[in-house]
Symmetry: D2
Subunit: 283 residues, 4 copies
Amino acid sequence: MKFRVSSELAYNVNSPSTLLVNVHAQRLPGQTIIEETFKIDPYIRIEELTAADFETRFIRLEVDAGTLLKIYYQAVVDTSYKVIDRAQLEDVSLMQLDGEVIPFLFPSRYCQSDKLGRLAYKMFGHINNVYEKVLAIVDWIYENIEYASGSTNSHTSAYDTISEWTGVCRDFAHLGIALCRALTIPARYFTGYAYQLNPPDFHACFEAYIGGQWLIFDATRLAPLNGLIKIANGRDAADASIASIFGNVSFNAMTVDCQLIDKDFVSITHQDLYTKAIALTVV
Amino acid sequence: MKFRVSSELAYNVNSPSTLLVNVHAQRLPGQTIIEETFKIDPYIRIEELTAADFETRFIRLEVDAGTLLKIYYQAVVDTSYKVIDRAQLEDVSLMQLDGEVIPFLFPSRYCQSDKLGRLAYKMFGHINNVYEKVLAIVDWIYENIEYASGSTNSHTSAYDTISEWTGVCRDFAHLGIALCRALTIPARYFTGYAYQLNPPDFHACFEAYIGGQWLIFDATRLAPLNGLIKIANGRDAADASIASIFGNVSFNAMTVDCQLIDKDFVSITHQDLYTKAIALTVV
Amino acid sequence: MKFRVSSELAYNVNSPSTLLVNVHAQRLPGQTIIEETFKIDPYIRIEELTAADFETRFIRLEVDAGTLLKIYYQAVVDTSYKVIDRAQLEDVSLMQLDGEVIPFLFPSRYCQSDKLGRLAYKMFGHINNVYEKVLAIVDWIYENIEYASGSTNSHTSAYDTISEWTGVCRDFAHLGIALCRALTIPARYFTGYAYQLNPPDFHACFEAYIGGQWLIFDATRLAPLNGLIKIANGRDAADASIASIFGNVSFNAMTVDCQLIDKDFVSITHQDLYTKAIALTVV
Amino acid sequence: MKFRVSSELAYNVNSPSTLLVNVHAQRLPGQTIIEETFKIDPYIRIEELTAADFETRFIRLEVDAGTLLKIYYQAVVDTSYKVIDRAQLEDVSLMQLDGEVIPFLFPSRYCQSDKLGRLAYKMFGHINNVYEKVLAIVDWIYENIEYASGSTNSHTSAYDTISEWTGVCRDFAHLGIALCRALTIPARYFTGYAYQLNPPDFHACFEAYIGGQWLIFDATRLAPLNGLIKIANGRDAADASIASIFGNVSFNAMTVDCQLIDKDFVSITHQDLYTKAIALTVV
């Protein structure tokens, strides 16, 4: 499916600062960038970097104090996804692990799985099938955590969300990841553009590694799973934030958009996951 | 310098469990494994995995309930290091960044640099030279944080240590890393065997990325910097713990040893860092 | 019922220190001190203080560095309790509040009820009757939190326990209190000697203010409710710790004992609370 | 000095809720209420309660869902204060403790003094005189913590502020209290109306118990110390918040005002505390 995605960010830069901006759609098998524009206003020399362990595309900016910085990105992206029959996942009761996946078992800044072992085991440990276990986690989050815009901030972590029971997409994703890892299921953060997300914004959800592939889950149920355009994966939002800011910079404004170019879009939603699993990253 | 290192770990495994054991010295340019033995008692099929983003060598064990598990490692390792003149680092006032280094700027499980920006900037921001900045951080930690065995646990993070002012080598390293990252200096955790560490144990310190190389720092001052044999690097102890345990496993006993095989060892200590920097990883 | 209670505490005092010791059984309507001995070794001038808002009896000690301090307490105490018919509590669906009770609605050091509102409301908000609500809280804690000696420390709070799902009597009490307050039910910490507690130790549980009286609850189910001899009430353990220590003092050893003097003790346990409520403090 | 104080609060009440409102100036020796008006719109039966351990005047409201609640308070208050010569405090190097003061030594919800002992002792332990110790704490806070409106929320505690180095008056007060208690100096929260505070708002600072009296300190330096009209004392903001809310209530708007009625006001500011101490509560 082809989508036109765009984002505009504006910041007031109050001291000489470094920004690592991460708004580009990834180039991936299964996610083709057909066209792309990136602009900075005022003009600043930029540097594109790719982080070691993911395909994440960072733009590095060194900005002077007193700058009103604007960042524009626009792209046309063609995405695909893979449907996996539930039957194929029936007997996947054992972790299938390769070296690349190991770090996604470890606790991270916003996903303190080391602290949630007993809770996760008591709540979900009785479910044998790994895929069902993750579905149960995602359903529990959806049913119990209140989605409330503005209820959390950039320091909020899964350890907060498991007791405060409120958050936004980022918090829902962090809690899902933390509970998976606590049950020895590798899980990673996913951030991207999302079709039909209302109000339009960047979106976050997560992927769990089951049966040798990364399957997508979204505990918010706010956007179709086949309307996601990947910006980044990471251990959590620390690896995949839209902008990592080093310096005194204040956020000013943001607009995000995601339009369908193709026709005949048939949503795949959380309900579909009860019968078939979805892998976005076709490796 | 040649060292003979060894470790023995014993665990009571109370439920079917997975362990990722990480006691092997790394194979590196500048760190040669001359001989090596690894044994598990009782005999269990093991799998050696290498994590994606580091050279860390994990041994994966699936262990049945009711096992008294013993793990033995022994190796002869030849290490070297590189001395960098302070003069070479004088003008390194700007971050030199490549893609591989980016994740070491981000906050991690035990190094919440995102919360320590103001404190770090007020305390160390006035120092222009990056190398001096890191020395000042390491000196401040040494002078203010009380080294107290047993004062912290595996959940303790830099965010605790910055206010509780006590910890062990792991906590000293986490705080150093967090303060560096808060000042836009990439920093990573280092764990290994350490010559002359008393009592003998695994040791932890950290490396900061300055002038295009990883320089070693140890805020505990408990072991010579040229007596370190690397087991792992990582963002923090979450990536580099001796054993990551998934299941109900209780720790039983541990012995660690590090003997010099060569003669004529001349210690390089923290004091030497005022005149010359040390890089352990010769890339 | 008459009980003989005793405790011995030993500390190494490493710097000039102040201790507020709180091991005396309270003098109360319904709890009569028949005889009592308190000794300090070495002899130090002591001061008995009673805190403003409770009947708690503090002994204040100023101790020199280098002291091996021993504290002995022994008493014979006669206790009674009041049984309240469940029927009497049926229609108590509204908070009955007087000024003295207000502070027990507020969050405190170890009972961060301000953070647990959504969780408490979603889990227990559907129960209309206040007494049943508290019973449901206490049952949930008993069924889900693992009682594990040594799993927590003196900094552990309800905010930790609600996610880590492990703790000791103190943690069970803190979580019960926090959940009650989050639901606008005044609740306070209770600490004392406990008959048939095994191994013998000081015990902690909590009281909730329902229908104009303080009713006792113990989520640990470790001791009969009519075998409790009150040392202190408080907002949480911060008000009612056995010893509040200001200075460098290390804990050395402790013994606690509680023997029945009367005969024909009939235990009242948690199970009995389903049919009748128990008030220990007869005001 | 006579002041006219007023406040208006507006809330949207979304579920049946209980509010404990605390905006009344206290009636105290040294603080006389000359006239006073309190109104609720729409008209609701209210109840005035006085908390057990302080003179705090709570208004309790039970409000139905769907109410747009407005609360008006206005009063003319005559205040006085006591000046204590620094010389009188010179030899006060020992805690003077009576039972009423003991709870103000304990850690509380937002003042985790139990975690800050080492830091407090290393930073301020070398100062012998208790009054100077508190001045040094207050000066350190002023010089290092950034006053930034909106940087914190109602869950923020001294444990956060000691590492995040930002906050508002409430956070400055909590940190001062926590550091005092960590050094065995009783300290309590103070909230009230403040003359010349800009922008007008409720204000918070703290009192330390030195030489048998409660002395006022304000680490923000935002208002004259003799322009404070007391609403409440407490262990921290948990005891003394303007409104404790139980239910789903959203804050709508607030105005606060404090006008001088008398003439010839001579400010007493933090600078004056270097030569003389100020007690607001004349007991």
